[in-house]
């Protein structure tokens, strides 16, 4: 149907979702979309993204405390450090385009902490994935599920955002999530 309607390149994903062995996302198409109105200016987008990263950072810190297995504790610690880097990148991007250049503390005061990255709350994630906190594989798998969910959210939001510069920022963050997902995959393979 698409090819006959002027679509230049159409590919059929053989086997559909059943053949898809990488991480999937869940939820309806509007899941987490309420975090964005669609009217955000570039600075607003960065604030929301920062809050989502903060949610995930908090989540990993809580999980680090809850985990009893030493290796798993370390892993959650490492994952939380990665989120700090994400946040730093977002804060730097904010200062690059803001006239005010707030300090990190001032910036954090402006940011309202919302849901986790990916648009689900901590409890929803734990209930959903029910990770075995003694298993490194389970922990990385959980992190990959969250990254997949985040990638999914940013890509869905991208089509809703009206300001082209804001949309570019969202797309850039989505591409970074994709890279994070790939690096977690490598980490999983290395176990």
């Amino acid at each position: 149907m698409l090819a006959g309607k002027g679509f230049k390149k159409v590919f059929n994903v053989a086997g559909g979702i059943k053949a898809w062995h990488a991480k999937t996302a869940i939820g309806p198409q509007d899941l987490g979309m309420d975090l964005f109105t669609g009217k955000e200016e570039p600075l607003d987008v960065l604030k929301v993204a920062y809050s989502l990263e903060q949610g995930l950072y908090d989540f990993y810190i809580v999980m680090e405390k809850e985990a009893e297995h030493e290796k798993v504790k370390d892993l959650f610690g490492k994952l939380s450090e990665i989120e700090v880097k994400h946040q730093m990148a977002i804060y730097t991007a904010y200062n690059d385009i803001s006239d005010e250049e707030p300090s990190k503390d001032e910036f954090e005061k402006m940011v309202e902490i919302k849901a986790l990255e990916g648009g689900l709350s901590t409890r929803e994630y734990i209930d959903l994935f029910n990770p075995d906190l003694t298993s490194e594989t389970d922990v990385i798998s959980l992190a990959m599920s969250i990254e997949a969910q985040a990638l999914d959210l940013y890509q869905r939001v991208s089509s809703k955002i009206e300001n082209p510069q804001s949309r570019d920022i969202i797309n850039q963050i989505a591409n970074e999530e994709k890279a994070h997902l790939a690096s977690l995959g490598k980490l999983m393979d290395s176990l």
Binding site: M1, L2, A3, G4, K5, G6, F7, K8, K9, V10, F11, N12, V13, A14, G15, G16, I17, A19, W20, H21, A22, K23, T24, A25, I26, G27, P28, Q29, A148, Q149, L151, D152, Y154, Q155, R156, S158, S159, R167, N171, A174, N175, K178, L181, A182
Partner: protein, 73 residues
Amino acid sequence: MKWMQFLTPAKSLDFDETNAYISQHPGDKITILDVRQPSEYQESHIPGATLIPLPQLSDRLDELDPEKPTLVY
């Protein structure tokens, strides 16, 4: 009669090829199109996929960019 619309000249990509294609292209440069029902999408979908159930597809084609490579499942 535009016969092209009745044929399916779409190339098939297996899992590895699809995964590689998605990894190599920024998300805003391609469309991943899920044509299943909303309940199926809700249960599990490829991250970033746009949902347009097959029965609605012909009426909603204007929501998609024909210039972008489109991966359909």
